[in-house]
Structure formats: C-alpha cells, structure tokens
Symmetry: C2
Subunit: 364 residues, 2 copies
C-alpha cells in the first residue's frame, strides 16, 4: 500500500487536484508580508498533515513518559504555573520550494512562501525533562500530537523524535501563546513544541505526549517522511535545521494572474529578510541582471535577543526600462550559500534554490 515515498511527477505534469487540495488548506506567507518583523496573525505559514484537532483545554493533559524516573501528567494550568519563557523564531516548512523542483515530488506543493516569524511564549522544556528524571541513556525524545491520519499507508498520530541534546537546549520551548494571544487552533492549541533553528516538522503541534527513548526513534515522520535522498532505495539523511535563505518583497505592483511585477524606472529600494537555522547569516547578495553579477546587500545587525529570527536586508537599485530577473541569496557562517542551480531530492525537502523575481521596468 505504501512505498513511503512521494511520487515523482512526470515531465510537464501540472499540479494535481490532490496537491491543490493541500495548497488551499495550508498556506504560505504572501511575500509582501516580509515587511513585518513579526508576522501578523493569519499570515504565518501553516502546514497541517491531517486535520486540525478539536481539543478542549479543560480535558487536555500532557504526559511525560518513557525512560524517566517519575512520569508526569500536567494540565495547562500546571504548565502555566512554571517558569515562563519566550522566543522570537522564524519557522519554515521543510517542504518549502518543493513545487519548484524539476521533476516535482508530489506532496504539499510549496513554492517559496512557507515561512513566518512569531513571538512564542510558554515554559522551557529542559527543566520539565530534568524534573521527570530522564535517563542518562536517553537518545531521542518523541513528541506526539493529537492530529491523526494516514500517510502513505501508515495510520498514525503525528510524532517526531528529537535528539536529546536538542530537547535539552535552554531555548527549546513548550508554547501556549503566539504573539501574546492563546495559540490559534491551526498553530497547535493548547500546546506545541518550539525548537529554534529546526524546520517545521520538528515543531510538533497539539502536543499530548513526550516520551524519552534510549534508542533512536524509528517512527514514520523520522524514518520515512523527512529524509533527503536522491535514489529510490536510499534511506537518505534526516532533515534537521533550516538551510540559509533570503527572500525579497517583490517590488512594484503585480499582475493578478502571473504575479509578474511592474516597477517604474528610477531608484528602487529592494528589501526582504534572510535567515538560517544553522548559523548566523553572514551575507546577502542581490543580482539585478538575472544572475550574471552579484552585489552585497545591506544586512541588519544580528540581534542577540533573537538569534533565530530573520534579519532584514536592503539594496539600492536603479531600475532601467526593460525586463530583468531579480535574484537574492544568503550565506551563513557555516559557509553555506544558497544554490543557483537546484540540488534535487526525491522527497522535495529543504529546497533553498535562490528566489528569482521577473520584473518589467516601465519607462517614466
């Protein structure tokens, strides 16, 4: 019933109705919304694998179990009596860019927009694990949500294992609020995990259970779904932290249908955001001639208070009448730069190919 892998679309095969059904349910950040430091409510990207569950906080509790000395059960009120913590974090879906791969792996068909930045608040995870007395042999911590469905033949509650070293980071958070309000249903109410720097699949929503394992978690989302491989038989590498990316707020005004941009000739300030979950962004470069040449953009200073939030960049461009493609690319402190040619994988994961914005510059 299941190959465990996304089907690869044939040459010239358009987006199917099943992919479209995912695209109309889940949504990206309209790129003009890059203008806000913190994404306004409703504009942050959302990906829900199954259905948004209906959880009544009054009936809900979180289990902490597995390789711990003292299993815990906590209500939302119990959690809210604990020490508070907050973090401004940029989250991105691991599948962002999938529909730009050629050939296209058939799954949630993101183009570029599966990103957003929010202020998450709740309580730190590590003290809770220490209080439960996690085993010194702990390897993975498994976070299970209340969302239930079937994925490539496997019926499951959504569950992801996280290496224990990541779960014990002081900035890993159990969050019940987003941007100062209670979590909206689609973002995991009443409680979700936030692990800054990792792609969205690790940020488990609608949390019901945290289980400590003394061996690696082999569930579907870790072993099968979120992998990077180019050959059908290869188990591949796990998807982990967010690769560097810069995006541009498309300048000027759009055509409704093609989203092509029109810009009056003259001085234009190009702006956008850049981020990486691996290391600080060290450079943003812009090309205004379709990739033939690149120039450094002005990158906002890193804010030590928000190491995992995107940073703004800007670039002064003198637009001359005609047509061109604008490109932008980020490099982070690991030395990794966004590729200008695709680095394909059959799961359609982590495609940080540079953004290309076709623009028609109108004579004044």
């Amino acid at each position: 019933m299941s190959t465990g892998h996304a089907r690869i679309a044939g040459p010239g095969e358009g987006i199917g109705l099943d992919e479209l059904a995912l695209a109309t349910r889940n949504h990206g950040l309209p790129l003009e919304a890059l203008r806000w430091d913190v994404t306004p409510p409703g504009l942050h990207y959302v990906l829900t694998h199954y259905d948004i569950p209906a959880l009544d906080p009054a009936d809900w509790a979180l289990q902490v179990t597995g390789a711990v000395e003292r299993p815990l059960q906590l209500t939302l009120a119990d959690l809210q009596r604990r020490a508070g913590a907050a973090a401004r974090v940029t989250l991105e879906c691991a599948g962002n860019g999938r529909a730009r791969f050629e050939p296209r792996p058939v799954s949630q068909p993101w183009l570029l927009e599966a990103v957003g930045t929010a202020e998450w608040s709740g309580t730190p995870l590590a003290p809770l694990l220490h209080e439960a007395g996690l085993s010194p042999d702990a390897v993975d911590v498994v976070f299970t949500g209340a969302d239930h469905g079937v994925e490539r033949g496997v019926e499951q509650d959504y569950a992801r294992g996280l290496p224990v070293t990541e779960a014990l980071r002081p900035d890993a958070l159990l969050a019940w609020a987003m941007d100062g309000a209670a979590l909206p249903p689609q973002h995991g109410a009443p409680l979700r995990l936030v692990v800054p720097g990792w792609y969205g699949m690790a940020q488990v929503k609608w949390l019901t259970r945290i289980e400590v394992l003394t061996e690696p978690f082999t569930g579907y989302q870790n072993a099968t779904a979120y992998r990077i491989a180019t050959e059908a038989g290869d188990p591949g590498d796990p998807v982990t932290r967010i690769r560097p990316r810069a995006l541009m707020s498309p300048p000027g005004f759009p055509d409704f249908m093609t989203r092509e941009r029109f810009v009056p000739a003259g001085p234009v300030t190009l702006t956008g955001r850049a981020w990486s979950g691996r290391a600080p962004v060290t450079a943003v470069e812009v090309s205004t001639d379709g990739g033939a040449s690149w120039s450094g953009a002005e990158l906002a200073a890193a804010d030590p208070a928000h190491p995992f939030a995107w940073r703004s960049w800007s670039f002064a461009w003198t637009a001359e009448a005609g047509s061109t493609d604008l490109l932008v690319r980020a490099t982070d402190a690991t030395g990794e730069a966004q590729p200008v040619e695709q680095r394909w994988n059959r799961q359609g994961m982590a495609n940080n190919l540079v953004q290309r914005v076709p623009v028609t510059v109108l004579a004044r």
Copy 2:
C-alpha cells in the same frame, strides 16, 4: 493585451504554476474549521487580487465624493466617533468551486473552502452617505481600495460599484474590526466594506474612496471580471449575492495526500454549515449513497440576530463497512437548491455544485 476573460484550461491540463502561486498566497477554510460558529483568526478565507497594501492609519483618510452635496474626508478617529454597529456575516469568494469546473477557467483555483464567518464591527454606511447628501439620481456607489495591480492588461486600483439601494441598506457596514480586534492587514486594515449577503468581491478592503455615480459603474471588476456567461462574446450577468451552499466537516480522519476519509463503522454524526446570501436556508439534505437517495438533515433554527451567518446542520448516519460518497445540499427560500450537475460558466463564478466526500468505512 487583454481578452478580459480567464483562459479555459485544456482537457486534462493540470493546475499551472501561476494558479498554484495564487493558491499558496490566498487560502481557504480547512473544512474541519466549520465546527466553529465564528471562524478563528487566520482560518477565514482570504483573497487578495494584488498585494496587501501597507497603510499607516495615521496617514490614511476616507474620501466620500462624486454626486454628493458635501464631499467628506474622514480619518479613522472621525469614523470611530460615529455610531457603532456590528454584524456576524458569512463571506464567500465568488470564485469558490472554480477548480471543480470542467473545463477549468484559469484563475484563483478554489475547490470548496473559500468561506468564513466573522464578527465585523464599525459604523453603518447609510448615515454617512445621507450626511454627504447623495444625489436623488444616484445609481451606483463605487468603493475603491488601496490595492493596485494589473489584471488581464488593465492597470487599476481595485474598485467595485454597488447599487445604491444596497449601499443604503441599514446593515451595510464600514468595518475597522474583526472578531473584536483591529482588522488584520489581509482583511483590509484600516477599513473595509461589509455588505451582508454578497459574494466577497463586493466587500472592498483597504478602502480609500467612496464615490457616488448617477450612472452604472463600468470599471473592470464590474463590467469584465465578475460576470457569469457561457459564450465568449456574451457580456453575461453580474455576480451579486451568494448562492445557497451546504458544506460538511469531513468525518473520521484523512489520508495526508488524497484527503480521502476513513471512518470506523457504526453511528456517525455528520455536521456542517449551510448559508445563502439570497434568502434563508430552508432545507439541508444529505446523501450517504453517492447521490442515489437524499434525506433531510437537522437544521439549526434561524437566529434573527444573524440573518447572514451560516447555520449548523447535523445528520445521524450509521456507517457500514465499504466505500461510499457522502453528499450534502442546501435549498433556500427562493426555491433554489444546489445543483448535482455543474452549471458551468467561463469566468468560473458561483459554482455551488454539491460537495462530494469519498469515505472508506472501516469494519470495527
């Protein structure tokens, strides 16, 4: 440069990247969110023709102009000093169902989900028009937004004309708040129009100008875009009020990719919502055998306080192991029922073809 019409997709032509770009920007209501009387923030459908504008309320003002004795200019503070009003209203995009038409008009490719219900609050429109002294010869009132773009070759600020009789309805509202909070950017901040009962194209966002005309408005959105015609040369009929529709919260749990539903055998309560912008919904019927037979569902009583909000319905079903299609259809007091065969038009408007939910019932 412009035919004024959407291209019609060829036989078997998949969704294109331009349609997908619209689908990832704009988004529908995940149908499990029909469970809420008022749609939670971020789950209400959104359609933005061009870009979400960046408006600073401090710099913003509304012009009331045209065939009036006393043109007005009002700041947001001026408007907020006026009499208050609020309404719970179900809004639906006129293009809802477009991607289910065969052949498919190429535009925003909605399936079923372009709907939502919100509590809008602001000030009534009619007293403002009377205060400006609208001409007794007034025919249309044109509402112009700050969103600017090109559509099928026509550069424009989004603008829609509304018949003066509709603009003078006591329940037509200039809204600055949604669900008790300031309008989010994507829903028209700082001010939008809400005309209960009409499809979304009439609910102009980011309002900057209200102009009274003594002849019918001939702008692009009225004369070209929002029409219903089957022949290429036919100007067609204008899109106006929302046709009757019922939708079901898909029961059981989904397959991630196909969204097919799995339901354990036994008693299942099917639930959903029904609405019409033309007249009260009088009946909701359900078929559990793929449309061969229909039975009446339980429809919640009309709430006189919210005549233009959807109403809940429920239906007791005993699911037997096997595969079937669930269907639901609404009828309103005009006698109009949702069609079970498509009523095609080349703009892809107002497609209220009944919903069909394929379900696999699992033996217990």
